[in-house]
């Protein structure tokens, strides 16, 4: 079954049509990278898929359940309760982490489990510590976000998303706010997740990384998917625009 299915997604801001007609499916265990120039609509696609923005037209389907259904070219969203269920299927790692500054690292990772999922605290902390251990952050459990490097903060935010055990994890340019030295430690974590067959959709500017890791690369420009395929196909693409873009890296 497709974990995610997007049909004819359309989104405008005022007169500006940012997403024109995006269709895309993601299967379990797949790692999909989305690349493309700034302003191509990558981030908007991610924000619509994660329901941070409402799309104007098209379907948004998670595990066969409609979050939004196209009715006469207008997206009609499901009821609040249903959306809440669907929301649990995915997590999002932000470009600038968005950790909660007043919570310690372990609380950042466990608070949603305790407050939202009503998991007993002891169990939540156990799960949180296990995750932090896997991401090499166990000794930082009681630190506060401001005491961590950017790379460590991003790993905490990955742990925070993983704690809720989503089926799909979205990444919105996860290394763009990091200096090159710190980028590696975050990419390593994402690679590890790929090995563990975590389904991921990653908006990224790291071409080499996308090439190594992805099952599929999607190239976006001007609000449409210009090309998609395996990394080999994309990097050998005859499409002029794709070549142009990749050539710059």
């Amino acid at each position: 079954m497709n974990l995610l299915e997007i049909n004819h997604m359309q989104k405008s801001f005022g007169n500006l049509e940012v997403l024109k007609d995006i269709s895309l499916t993601v299967k379990e265990g797949e790692v999909v990278s989305i690349i493309g120039p700034s302003g191509s609509g990558k981030s908007t696609l991610l924000r619509c898929a994660t329901m941070l923005e409402q799309m104007d037209g098209g379907d948004l389907i998670y595990l066969g359940k409609h979050a939004a259904k196209d009715v006469e070219q207008k997206s009609v969203y499901a009821k609040k309760e249903e959306l809440k269920q669907i929301q649990k299927y995915f997590g999002l790692v932000f470009q600038n982490f968005n950790l909660f500054p007043h919570f310690s690292v372990i609380k950042n990772v466990t608070d949603a489990l305790i407050t939202v999922e009503k998991m007993p605290k002891k169990q939540a902390v156990e799960r949180g510590k296990k995750l932090l251990g896997q991401l090499g952050l166990l000794e930082k459990a009681n630190a506060y976000p401001y005491q961590l490097s950017g790379g460590q903060q991003q790993r905490v935010s990955i742990a925070r998303a993983l704690a809720l055990q989503p089926k799909i994890l979205f990444f919105d340019e996860p290394t763009s706010a990091l200096d090159p030295e710190l980028t590696g430690e975050v990419l390593k974590v994402i690679k590890q997740l790929a090995k563990e067959k975590m389904t991921m959709i990653i908006v990224t500017h790291e071409m080499q990384f996308a090439k190594e890791l992805s099952d599929r690369i999607i190239f976006m420009e001007d609000g449409v998917i210009q090309a998609q395929g395996t990394p080999e196909e994309i990097f050998a693409s005859k499409n002029e625009r794709v070549q142009n873009f990749i050539g710059k890296f």
Binding site: Q87, N98, F100, P101, H102, V116
Partner: protein
């Protein structure tokens, strides 16, 4: 009148001053939050009404507002005013006025929290209420402590306005003693009382600020 008697009387007035102070904070701090929500509401009517309310409260003298609250029941509704209503009117007047100032401080604080905090909370499944009370408000409180401290210190001094409704708080008593004794002493003593009160307020607020400095 001996110095000790004077201090004792001023001390009694101080209790009334403290009562006005505590009750005003107790009601105006939460009411300010409600007003701040109104001021930021999606509903344009609600937003307009709160905006006008805040504008009037900040744009007219507190003394005048106290008179309005005190005399309105009689002039508007012909309800006889009992003398016990005086202190009540003072507190209502102060609460309505200070809530307006607190509302603007809350609003500034709430609007200064990055939208990413809301988005992260949404992604993790927090409800709107728990997003606000667990994620946003604690950060807002840390940010607005300095301007709130300013208001609280002003409030200590503003309590002296209660004398216009003949509530016998400290300043009223100081004035009576000064007139009867033909001496400045009572005013000086009252000044010292106010100063110490505010020193305590500043100390307490500093403690709270320190307590919240565990994160940036």
């Amino acid at each position: 009148m001996s110095f000790a008697t004077m201090l004792l009387q001023l001390g009694k007035g101080m209790l009334v001053t403290a009562e006005i102070f505590v009750l005003t904070l107790l009601f105006s701090l939460p009411l300010g939050l409600v007003l701040a929500f109104g001021r930021m509401a999606k509903n344009g009517f609600l937003r307009g009404v709160t905006k006008i309310y805040i504008s009037i409260m900040r744009g007219t003298p507190l003394m005048l507002q106290l008179f309005v609250v005190y005399f309105a029941p009689y002039y508007v509704f012909k309800i006889p005013i009992s003398s016990s209503y005086r202190i009540v009117a003072v507190i209502i007047g102060f609460v309505l006025n200070y809530a307006a100032y607190f509302a603007e401080i809350y609003r500034a604080g709430i609007e200064s929290i990055p939208v990413g905090q809301y988005e992260a909370a949404k992604m993790l499944g927090y409800s709107k209420a728990s997003t606000f009370f667990r994620i946003i408000l604690p950060q807002v409180i840390k940010r607005i402590l300095p301007p709130v401290t300013n208001e609280v210190i002003t409030l200590v001094k503003d309590t002296s306005l209660a004398f216009v409704l003949s509530v016998t708080e400290m300043f009223t008593i100081a004035k009576q003693i000064a007139a009867a004794e033909k001496s400045m002493m009572a005013f000086v003593a009252a000044g010292v009382f106010y100063y110490i009160f505010n020193l305590l307020v500043a100390l307490i607020m500093e403690k709270i600020e320190k307590k919240l400095s565990y994160y940036k």
